[in-house]
Amino acid sequence: MRCVRIKFNKTGRVKYVSHLDVMRAMTRAVRRAKIPLWYTEGFNPHPYLNFLQPLPLGIEGFNEPLDIRIEGEIENREIKERLNGVLPEGFEIISVTEPYMKSNDIAFGEYEIIFEREPELPGLLEKAMSSGGLVCEKTGKVKGKKVIKEVNISENIKEYSIKEEDNAIILNVILPCGNTKNVNPVNLLSAVWGYIKKETVPVNIKRLRLTDINLMDFE
C-alpha cells in the first residue's frame, strides 16, 4: 500500500457540487479508472480517499489536494491519465505525486473574488479591506448551546490586493485555511458588505492554491 497525493481543479458548474458529493464522484471515478485501490479491512470494506481541505460550496478550486491509498503497481503518470479519461466535466487532474507535506501544514488559502466592473467598487473595497474593522457573525457552540459570535475578520487577512481589468474587478486575498483557523471568503464578503453598506454578487470565487505557514505552495 502506498499513499499518493492528487491535485485537481474543480471548475464550472461542478462548483455547486458539495464536498461529500465530490468525495462520492471521485470514488466512482477511481473505480471506473480501474486504479488498484487499497480497501479498508473490516465488515464494510471501502477505499481510502482524503480531501485535505474541503472546498466550500459555490467556489471553484485549483490545485486541490486529495490523498488516496493504492495497492499494486501503477505509475503516477498512469493514474493521472486514467483519471482524466473518466472524470465528469469540470474536474481535471493536474498532478499525481507522493505527499511531501503533512495535511497539518496547510495554513492559508489564496482566493480570487471576481466582480463585474463598477466604477465605485475598487475604492469601496479598498476602504473596507484596509479598515481593520471587518466583523462577521458566526454561529458557534458554547457548552452545547448555539450562540452567535462576532468574529474579527480584518485581523485574519494575511494579504490582499485589488486589480482592475477590462471587464472585471478582482480582489485577491489570502485567508487562514486549515485545521485550527479557517475564514470562508463568503464570510469575508458579508463583512465587507456590512461595512460599506452595499452588496454586489460576485461573478465567481476561486481558490487558487493552498499554502503552508510561509505561503509556500502546499505539496
Binding site: 458548474r13 461542478v14 455547486y16 457540487v17 464522484a25 466512482r28 473505480r31 470494506p45 459555490g58 469540470g90
Partner: protein, 615 residues
C-alpha cells in the same frame, strides 16, 4: 449554464439539483436535431433520478440521431420561489434551455399524488395547463407510467397518454411528430393520427356522458379513434433497447446504483396488486443479457451496487444461474448485489449465503395481512409457517432485524385480522430468541410497516369500497394497542394521503376541475407528508360539488361502466370479476406456473406467456 440561472441557484438548497453536468449526461448540437424532448419527472431530482423507466427512455430517445432528450424535475419550494420572482421559466438540465420551446414534453406518472406537480411544472414552463389552450402542434404534452391506466382525472391537461411499455411506442410517437412538424400540420391532425398508434390514448377524442347518479353512461370515440385502446408491450426483453450508461448524479439520491430488470409482469396474482395485472403477461430476460447489462453499467458508472429489479424477484426461473454469473465478478470488484423484491415462500438458504458474500442489506417481507383467512382473501399465498421459517433462516444467516409489510383496510378485514398483524410480528420476535447462535447482547428489531389499502383499476378489487379515513384511523389505534413489545416497531402510512390516492386512482373526468382548483390554491407535492394540504383539498371538492367518497368509499356494481373500461390492459373483466367473487368466498387462485387462470394478457403477446414456458 445561463447567467440568470446561475444567479439564483447560489441562493437555494442543493444547487446541484439544477446544474446538470453529471457524468454520462447527453449533450447534442441543437442545430442538428429535429426534435427536442423534455422528460419531466413530477417530483424532486432525488426521486426522479432514481426511476428506472426514465433512464431507459432517456437513453432510448437519445439513441436517435434526430432527437435530443433532456431531464427536468420539479424544483423544490425555494427554487420555485426564486424562479417565479426572477421570471425564469422551467428549464432542462442538459442545455439550460426553456422547455416551452421544446417539441415534446413527457411526464412519467408513477403515483396519483403527483398530478398537481404536473400542472405546476407546465405553469412554471410558461405553458397553459389545459390541453385545449395549447393550440400549437408543439410542445405536445404526453404522459405514461402506471397511472396512465386511469388517466381520466388529468385528461384535460395532457394531450396524449402512452399505455404500457414505452420502448417502441415512444419511437412511433416521435416519428409521427417529426413528420407532422415537417409538413406543418396542426395539433389536431397530429392527435388524430397518434390515436391510430397502438397504445396511444388521446383523451380529447373521447366523449364521456354520465347517468343521473353520477356514474358513467358511455365513452364514445370521435372519428377513427379506436373504441378500446390496447396497451403496448415489449415481447422480447432480450432484444429490446437497454441503456449501457446511466447518468450518475453528484448528489445523494434515493436509489443510486446499477439497476436491471430481470422480468416484467408477475405470476402471483395477489388481488390488491395493480403492478401485477398492469404488467402481464410475464416476460423474462435471460441471465447472460442481464449479466452483460450489469457489467456495462457498472463499468461506465463506477457504481458499487447492483439491484435486480422486478416484482417478486425470487420467481425468476434462472435466479441461481444469474447470481452465480454476477457473483463471479462482483465479489472481486467489491460490488454488492441486492434483490429488493422477494417472497417468503421460495427464498432458499443457498441464496441467503450467496448474497451475504459482499455486504449485507436489509431483509423485508410482505405478508400483507395478519391472518391466513385474509391472506387467502387477497390471494397472497403465503403461510404463517413460511414467514416464520424464512425469518428463522434469516436469523441463522446473521440478520438481527427484519421488516414486515402489511396493509390495513383490505376487503372483509376484521379486528381479528388486525390483531393477527401484532401476533405474527411477535412470533417472528420469538423465533429470534429460539436461535441458539444469535449474536450475544444484540436485540432483535421487527419493523412493521402498515399501509392503507387503496383499491386500484385493473385489479379484482377495482369495485371495492376503500375504508373511510375514520375506519382506518380506528384500525391503526387498535393495532397500536395490540403491540405490547418494544422489539416491534410500528410505522403507518398517513391516512389523508391514502384517501386522496383512493379518490384519484378510480376518479373520472369530473376531477380535472378539482385538481386544477386545488393547484391554483397552492396544492403541490401532495405525496409528501409535510406538504399535503388536505383541508384545502376537502374545501375544493366541496366548491366543485364533487364528493370524494363517491370515488374512494363507494362499492361499485359489476355492471357499472368504470372510467377506465375503454382502456385494455389485456386482463379480461370476467377474470377480475371471478377473482373478486373468489376473494369473498375465501378461495385462493394458484400462481400462473402451476396453472394458467386465463387472465387474458397472453393475447397481447401473440398468445405467449413465459409462465407457461417449459425450459
Amino acid at each position: 449554464m445561463k447567467r440568470e440561472i446561475e444567479k439564483i441557484i447560489s441562493r437555494v438548497q442543493k444547487p446541484a439539483r439544477y446544474t446538470g453536468g453529471e457524468l454520462n449526461e447527453v449533450i447534442k448540437d441543437k442545430a442538428k436535431v429535429d426534435l427536442r424532448y423534455a422528460f419531466c419527472f413530477p417530483d424532486t431530482y432525488e426521486i426522479g433520478m432514481s426511476h428506472l423507466g426514465m433512464k431507459i427512455l432517456y437513453s432510448l430517445i437519445n439513441a436517435r440521431e434526430d432527437a435530443w432528450c433532456e431531464r427536468v424535475f420539479a424544483p423544490a419550494e425555494d427554487m420555485e420561489e426564486q424562479m417565479r420572482k426572477n421570471g425564469i421559466p422551467l428549464f432542462a438540465l442538459e442545455s439550460g434551455d426553456y422547455i416551452k420551446d421544446f417539441d415534446a414534453i413527457g411526464f412519467t406518472l408513477q403515483y396519483e399524488l403527483c398530478y398537481t406537480n404536473v400542472l405546476n411544472m407546465l405553469d412554471l414552463a410558461g405553458l397553459p395547463v389545459l390541453s385545449k389552450d395549447r393550440t400549437e402542434l408543439t410542445p405536445i404534452v404526453m404522459a405514461g407510467g402506471a397511472c396512465a391506466c386511469n388517466p381520466e382525472p388529468i385528461a384535460d391537461f395532457i394531450d396524449i397518454f402512452q399505455l404500457g411499455d414505452g420502448e417502441e411506442m415512444m419511437n412511433d410517437v416521435l416519428d409521427l411528430l417529426k413528420e407532422c412538424k415537417a409538413k406543418g400540420e396542426s395539433k389536431q391532425d397530429f392527435l388524430k393520427k397518434a390515436a391510430q398508434i397502438q397504445g396511444i390514448y388521446v383523451p380529447s377524442l373521447y366523449k364521456v356522458s354520465y347517468n343521473d347518479d353520477g356514474t358513467i353512461k358511455s365513452v364514445i370515440p370521435e372519428g377513427d379513434a379506436p373504441e378500446k385502446v390496447t396497451k403496448r408491450i415489449i415481447s422480447d426483453l432480450d432484444s429490446v433497447f437497454y441503456p449501457d450508461k446511466f447518468v450518475v448524479p453528484f448528489i445523494d439520491i434515493v436509489h443510486d446504483r446499477t439497476v436491471t430488470e430481470i422480468f416484467r409482469g408477475c405470476i402471483r396474482g395477489c388481488r390488491f396488486c395493480q403492478a401485477c395485472f398492469l404488467n402481464r403477461p410475464i416476460r423474462e430476460k435471460s441471465p447472460d443479457v442481464i449479466n452483460e447489462d450489469c457489467k456495462k453499467i457498472c463499468e461506465s458508472s463506477g457504481y458499487d451496487e447492483i439491484s435486480l429489479c422486478s416484482l417478486s424477484s425470487s420467481d425468476y426461473t434462472k435466479l441461481p444461474e444469474l447470481l452465480t454469473k454476477l457473483l463471479s465478478w462482483t465479489t472481486e470488484e467489491k460490488i454488492n448485489v441486492a434483490l429488493p423484491s422477494l417472497r417468503v415462500d421460495n427464498f432458499p438458504q443457498e441464496l441467503i449465503e450467496k448474497l451475504n458474500e459482499v455486504r449485507r442489506s436489509g431483509l423485508t417481507f410482505a405478508p400483507e395481512a395478519g391472518t391466513q383467512r385474509l391472506r387467502d382473501v387477497i390471494n397472497k399465498n403465503v403461510t404463517e409457517e413460511e414467514v416464520i421459517e424464512t425469518s428463522k433462516k434469516a436469523f441463522k444467516g446473521g440478520w438481527t432485524g427484519v421488516k414486515l409489510y402489511f396493509m390495513s383496510g383490505l376487503p372483509t378485514e376484521t379486528k381479528d385480522d388486525i390483531k393477527g398483524i401484532a401476533d405474527l410480528a411477535q412470533k417472528v420476535v420469538d423465533e429470534y430468541y429460539k436461535n441458539p447462535d444469535k449474536p450475544k447482547g444484540k436485540s432483535v428489531n421487527v419493523s412493521v410497516s402498515v399501509s392503507s389499502f387503496v383499491p386500484k383499476p385493473f385489479t379484482p378489487f377495482q369495485w371495492e369500497a376503500q375504508d373511510t379515513p375514520e375506519m382506518l384511523k380506528e384500525k391503526q389505534e387498535f393495532l397500536k394497542e395490540c403491540v405490547t413489545t418494544r422489539k416491534v416497531s410500528l410505522h403507518f402510512h398517513k391516512i389523508p394521503i391514502s384517501f386522496l390516492e383512493g379518490v384519484f386512482a378510480r376518479g373520472d373526468r369530473k376531477l380535472n376541475e378539482v385538481i386544477l382548483k386545488a393547484w391554483q390554491k397552492g396544492c403541490k407535492f401532495d405525496s409528501w407528508d409535510d406538504q399535503l394540504k388536505i383541508e384545502t383539498w376537502l374545501e375544493t371538492f366541496k366548491e366543485c360539488g364533487v364528493d370524494p367518497a363517491f370515488y374512494a368509499s363507494r362499492k361499485r356494481d359489476f355492471s357499472e361502466v368504470l372510467p377506465w373500461d375503454h382502456l385494455d390492459y389485456g386482463i379480461r373483466r370476467e377474470f377480475l370479476q371471478n377473482e373478486n367473487k373468489k376473494a369473498y368466498a375465501g378461495e385462493t387462485t394458484v400462481h400462473c406456473r402451476e396453472k394458467c387462470s386465463a387472465c387474458g394478457a397472453a393475447k397481447l403477446n401473440g398468445g405467449k406467456c413465459h409462465a407457461m414456458r417449459q425450459d
